[in-house]
């Protein structure tokens, strides 16, 4: 059963250059104990999807214009700020990109975990602090008793991200949203954080929405993937299907961009691949496919009509869907 179901979510931002549709009919679904990877370039709407689920879209200028967000069966899109407060940190936890600046410098890390427990479970300070120590242990911080009394500046980036995870998971939420949790960290620490997320997800059954541009991490961790471009989902499905058989030219581009380790120096080196061009401005989107200016297979239809997400016919469980005219035409030819 889906813990979190986002349906046709539309988010608009009023800007000086006119209305920007930052999320355009986004639909996602995640089951208990599942990891959903959302990938795409900066500015494609990944983080905005997360903020919408949290009810933290900055308003003004942002607004959820249409669509629904359901936690279990409860509608939370458009819920009051009091209702959302009881959900945030309690039923949905979130961790962010910047562990260095995401913790309040004047409170101990134990206090910052305990606050959440006091807030949502009405625990007294002693019980809340005990939970904080327990959580620090769970996220693999040595000497948790001692570290709970430390201030953020006394911890390394990796440690701080572990603390952030401890905060997010302190009230045992159904869903954890991890917004590029490892972008600011060293490679070795990145792997540790991903391992930790995977372990916590297995032990606690938390559903995780993993927002990243690390295709490798998605391949390794996620069950499902959603590829976003310019506020839309352009391809989605089970990770194995999508990565082994990508249909959208953008997905292919992303996969091709992942650099490979070359160990034999005698072999000719491949140049690093890139997708030419940049993400278009959301206020200047035309009628057609937003990716068409950067696409190597673009044809006339792409410029006139926006492709919709449709099931890729030759896959097993019908979950693999793609929004591209070219793939469809090809499928028609088959």
């Amino acid at each position: 059963m889906a813990v979190l179901r986002v349906q046709d979510l539309v988010v608009d931002f009023a800007t000086r250059q006119g209305n920007a549709r930052v999320l355009d009919h986004i639909s996602l679904e995640i089951d208990e104990g599942e990891i959903l990877g959302i990938v795409g370039e900066s500015g494609c709407g990944k983080s905005m999807t997360a903020l919408s689920i949290m009810g933290l879209v900055p308003s003004p200028p942002g607004n959820i214009t249409a669509g629904s967000i359901k936690l279990d069966e409860r509608e939370i899109a458009g819920a009051s700020s009091e209702q959302m407060r009881t959900i945030r940190g309690n039923e949905i936890g979130m961790i962010f990109q910047e562990p260095m600046s995401s913790l309040n410098p004047v409170f101990t890390v134990g206090e910052q975990i305990a606050e959440s427990v006091r807030l949502h479970e009405g625990a007294d300070s002693r019980a809340a602090f005990a939970r904080a120590v327990e959580m620090l242990q769970a996220v693999g911080i040595p000497e948790p008793e001692k570290r709970a009394r430390a201030y953020p500046h006394e911890l390394s980036g990796g440690m701080r991200q572990r603390v952030m995870i401890a905060i997010a998971l302190a009230c045992n939420p159904r869903v954890l949203i991890a917004d590029e949790p490892t972008t600011a960290l060293d490679t070795t620490v990145q792997a540790q954080i991903f391992d930790l997320l995977e372990e916590l997800q297995k032990n606690r059954g938390t559903a995780i929405v993993l927002i990243t541009h690390d295709m490798g991490a998605v391949a390794q961790l996620a069950d499902k993937i959603a590829v976003m471009y310019a506020g839309r989902i352009v391809e989605t499905g089970a990770v194995d299907d999508v990565l082994s058989n990508p249909r959208h030219p953008y997905t292919r581009g992303l996969i091709a961009c992942v650099p490979h380790l070359q160990v034999k120096p005698t072999k000719q080196r491949h140049p690093l691949l890139e997708i030419p061009g940049v993400v278009p401005s959301l206020t200047e989107l035309g009628e057609g496919c937003a990716f068409s200016p950067r696409c190597d297979r673009m044809h006339s239809k792409c410029l006139q009509h926006q492709p919709v997400l449709e099931t890729v016919p030759d896959t097993g469980d019908n979950s693999h869907r793609v929004a591209c005219w070219v793939t469809e035409a090809r499928a028609d030819d088959v």
Binding site: L56, M84, S102, N104, V106, E115, L119, H153
Partner: protein, 324 residues
């Protein structure tokens, strides 16, 4: 660790105080005028012999470095000399006036910090709203208006239009009201001077608080607090204000000297019997030992205030204490 820091800071402070003493002593002797004239009385009736005998008695015939040395030696034992004008020990004179000044300065500072911070937080809640604009106007006016002008305007207002606050002195000598009545009477007299002195700093602190709150409210850790489900009120009062108060502590500490000098003006305008009026009177009377004593004393107060600020800052910001 903390004790060591305090001791080191105290040593630096002592050196600084000696430097202040020497500099003031030399400055005073650069000023024109002969203290012997003052002591003899400015009626002009003193003969040369009387003046010579006065110079000999007070050691004014000695070379300057000898006078300085004697002064420093005496100061080290707590003897700041005899007031030429009041003819009592300077130290006694200063001590009798310090209480009034400290009362005025701390009331003004407390009023400025508490009200300024509160208004700043209020303004940051809606940065383009009415309150925010009012705070901006208030702070521009408060900052631009000279202290003595504000004081005089308030005197005019409360002397004629709205006589609810006394406009002069620290208490009413004509009334016998008992100890509690006396305290109330002093507080009643304190309102206008403290407001006048505080308004300038209130203006600055409200602006500063507004700016630092706005910056902090956009920071990542506030987003984290929101993601935890902390209420907006708690975010303002706990998460943001704790951080926004840090620059206020710094500025208030640094400005303590300017508040003390502002007190000189305010005391003069409102005839408040503190160090300020004493300084003012002593300068008019060329009472050098008293002037020197007051300068020395206010230097000590300012240095102590800075020391306390630093310690307070360590307490308020955990990141400072860590740099051992």
């Amino acid at each position: 660790m903390l004790l060591l820091t305090v001791l080191r800071r105290l040593l630096y402070s002592a050196i600084l105080v000696v430097a202040v003493l020497v500099l003031n002593f030399l400055l005073i002797h650069l000023a024109p005028g002969d203290p012997a004239d003052v002591i003899a009385g400015e009626m002009g009736g003193a003969t040369q012999e009387i003046l010579d005998s006065i110079r000999k008695t007070y050691g004014l015939d000695q070379p300057l470095y000898v006078q300085l040395w004697v002064y420093l030696k005496n100061a080290a034992t707590g003897d700041l000399g005899q007031s030429y004008f009041y003819n009592v020990p300077v130290l006694d004179l200063i001590i009798s006036r310090t209480g009034a000044t400290l009362l005025l300065v701390f009331t003004a500072l407390g009023f400025a910090i508490v009200t300024g911070t509160f208004l700043g937080v209020l303004a940051s809640y809606k940065p383009t709203g009415l309150i925010s604009n009012l705070v901006t106007v208030l702070s521009v006016v408060g900052y631009a208006a000279p202290i003595f002008w504000t004081g005089i305007m308030l005197i005019i207002l409360f002397a004629s239009v709205l006589p609810i606050f006394p406009i002069s002195n620290m208490y009413d000598v004509t009334k016998d009201v008992g100890p509690i009545g006396h305290v109330m009477d002093v507080l009643h007299h304190l309102v206008l001077p403290a407001f006048t002195l505080g308004i300038v700093y209130l203006a600055q602190y409200s602006r500063l608080t507004r700016a630092s709150m706005l910056e902090i409210l956009g920071s990542d850790y506030i987003r984290t607090a929101r993601a935890k489900g902390v209420s907006e009120r708690q975010i303002y009062a706990r998460h943001a204000l704790r951080n926004a108060i840090l620059p206020i502590i710094t500025i208030a500490g640094l400005q303590f000297g300017s508040i003390v000098s502002g007190a000189v003006l305010v005391e003069t305008v409102f005839n408040w019997p503190g160090l300020g009026t004493l300084a003012f009177d002593s300068i008019l009377a060329r009472d050098y030992p008293t002037i020197l004593g007051i300068l020395f004393f206010s230097a000590v107060i300012v240095i102590m205030a800075n020391l306390i600020t630093d310690l307070l800052y360590r307490f308020a910001d955990p990141r400072i204490g860590a740099q051992k």
